[in-house]
């Protein structure tokens, strides 16, 4: 297979990118996946919990098992996977600038899918740069993928699903979660995730925040405090905690650099994490040959990332003439139905609205 020329380039070997490649390859598209990491799978392999949804969405199956299934399929289909390879820009004539093993080379692709995922947001507080203050996702990677515990007495900051799940997984890894602080007056993630850690004795301190990480060369403690309705620290409520690891779980934002370099139109959508590339209902951006899928299009879950990936895959295949209109419409209807299911309910409402808005805004922009 030619490293310099491909029909479809997929940047990002996470759940979205892998599903894109699988669908496209099944339809006969010559596909190349690019990922800067040494191993494919994105954040799937650190998801050691069982997934929600229905059997269609791999419910009841652990994230890493799903990851392995996707990788097995990629191998069976003979998709070219370029690991430890950075796609650093999009140039004219569909050229992607590539850097790998000390060499720079062009990769020509007829169509591209950017599926670069997301990054954790930081929280700034006194002492936030001390070794021992880490993103919750970073800690999750260390404990679940590498088998390394960066600390044994933990303060978790944030009660979204990431904070709740990683707290549970830290206990599974043998650490003690001394407390979880949440600035809101209620748990922001799902009750079931909170329930799991509450019944293991983890105190969830609502209307609380971290004021400071203390320690000379690394985290030796934390100062937490109560906050009022405007999130202002209430005087005199400070309390010291004896911890050696502080996990920050305050949300994710899409990794849009490549989309921006490719001149895709971006829009700021706070409900989905920040700046993200606008796209139509086929996952196509303002650049005709560039599609997007997964968390780069807005922070959701691995399940939605996989569905979006499938959609981008068949859309690209359709644009490349591998699929007729009728079959494409039928297939996209199935994927959209499955995707829509994942956005139902109270927790999905905001995401659903934002996603519908994106497609609407895209249409509006393309006309003007």
């Amino acid at each position: 297979m030619n490293k310099y020329d491909t029909e479809l380039a997929v940047v990002g070997a996470g759940p979205a990118g892998l599903c894109t490649a699988i669908e496209a390859a099944r339809l006969g598209v010559e596909t190349t996946i690019i990922d800067e990491h040494v191993r494919p799978g994105g954040q799937l392999f650190k998801q050691i919990h069982k997934f929600f949804g229905s059997y269609r969405h791999h419910a009841g199956i652990r994230g890493y098992t799903i990851g392995q299934q996707l990788l097995d399929e990629i191998e069976k289909l003979g998709v070219q996977v370029l690991l430890s390879s950075v796609a650093f820009g999009f140039f004219e004539d569909g050229i992607i600038g590539m850097y790998s093993s000390g060499k720079v080379f062009p990769l020509r692709a007829r169509k591209s899918v950017i599926a670069t995922g997301a990054i954790e947001k930081p929280l700034i507080f006194k002492g936030w740069t001390l070794p021992g203050v880490m993103g919750a996702g970073a800690v999750q990677t260390m404990i679940n993928v590498h088998g390394v515990l960066p600390g044994t007495r933990v303060l978790m900051v944030g009660s979204g699903n990431v904070g709740l799940i990683v707290s549970y997984q830290l206990i599974q890894a043998g650490a003690e979660v001394v407390a979880l602080v949440e600035a809101l007056p209620e748990v922001s993630g799902w009750h079931v995730h909170a329930g799991k850690i509450c019944r293991l004795g983890v105190p969830i301190l609502l209307s609380h925040t971290i004021e400071q990480a203390t320690g000379r060369e690394s985290v030796e403690g934390a100062v937490i405090a109560e906050v009022d309705g405007d999130f202002i620290v209430k005087k005199g409520t400070q309390r010291k905690l004896d911890v050696d690891l502080i996990c920050v779980a305050v949300g994710l934002r899409p990794l849009v650099e490549l989309a921006r370099l490719a001149s895709c139109h971006l829009e700021y959508v706070p409900g989905l994490g920040g700046f993200l590339p606008l796209h139509d209902e086929h996952m196509r951006t303002s650049k005709e040959d560039i599609y997007v899928a997964g968390d780069i299009t807005g922070i959701e879950e691995a399940s939605t990332a996989m569905e979006e990936g499938k959609l981008a895959g068949i859309s690209a295949a359709h644009a490349l003439g591998k699929l007729n209109d009728e079959t494409y419409t039928m297939m996209s209807r199935v994927i959209n139905t499955n995707m829509h299911e994942l956005r139902l309910g109270t927790f999905g409402e905001e995401r659903r609205k934002c996603k519908e808005d994106i497609v609407r805004k895209f249409a509006g922009r393309m006309i003007s």
Binding site: H49, K50, F51, F52, G53, S54, Y55, A59, G60, I61, R62, T65, I171, Q172, G174, P185, E186, V187, W190, H191, V192, H193, A194, G195, K196, I197, C198, R199, L200, G201, V202, I204, L206, E341, L342, R343, L344, G345, T346, F347, G348
Partner: protein, 163 residues
């Protein structure tokens, strides 16, 4: 509200659709689905071999359990991604109730071991005895630990601590 803090009250559980009903609780070993939020999710319905659990469409519906049909086979305990299902037998014996909980920690408790019975907020409620520890390839690393407790605590104990 208790749900928003991560801890359901017994009242909230009795009122949720996953409560099998007082009659079944008194009569037999039965699943209690402590599931109260409209998250799109239904593997409990899909796995139940006797069709006792119903979610239907849309899959955000809260699951209900038909106490008559339920055989207490434990499969729903293991597959629930939220670890929110328990199998309770209030009248396990003259004095004791049994509660089967999902367990994904090390060390595993051992049959016959005396452990601490904790409630939904992790507080010690009573001592419990481990009667069985079940593992199965189907359960995919979620063990089912069955403990016996004094009857009056059968709706409280949902977690254990190995002393």
């Amino acid at each position: 509200m208790a749900r928003a803090e991560g801890v359901l009250t017994i009242e909230e559980i009795r009122n949720c659709p996953g409560w099998p009903g007082e009659e079944s609780i008194e009569k037999k070993r039965v699943a209690v689905l402590e599931c109260v939020e409209d998250i799109p999710c239904n593997p409990c319905e899909e796995i139940c071999p006797v069709g006792a659990i119903e979610v239907g469409s849309p899959i955000t519906n809260l699951p209900t359990v038909d106490g008559e049909k339920c055989t207490g086979c434990n499969q729903c305990i293991a597959i629930c991604p939220g670890l929110a299902i328990f199998v309770v037998e209030k009248n396990h014996s003259e004095q004791l109730s049994s509660i089967s909980i999902p367990y994904e920690l090390l060390p595993l408790p051992e049959r016959g071991e005396r452990v601490e019975g904790l409630d939904r907020s992790g507080e010690w409620v009573c001592d419990a005895q481990v009667e069985r520890v079940l593992a199965s390839k189907k359960f995919d690393r979620t063990h089912i630990v069955m403990v016996t407790v004094e009857k009056k605590f059968c709706h409280d104990v949902r977690s254990i601590k190995i002393p």
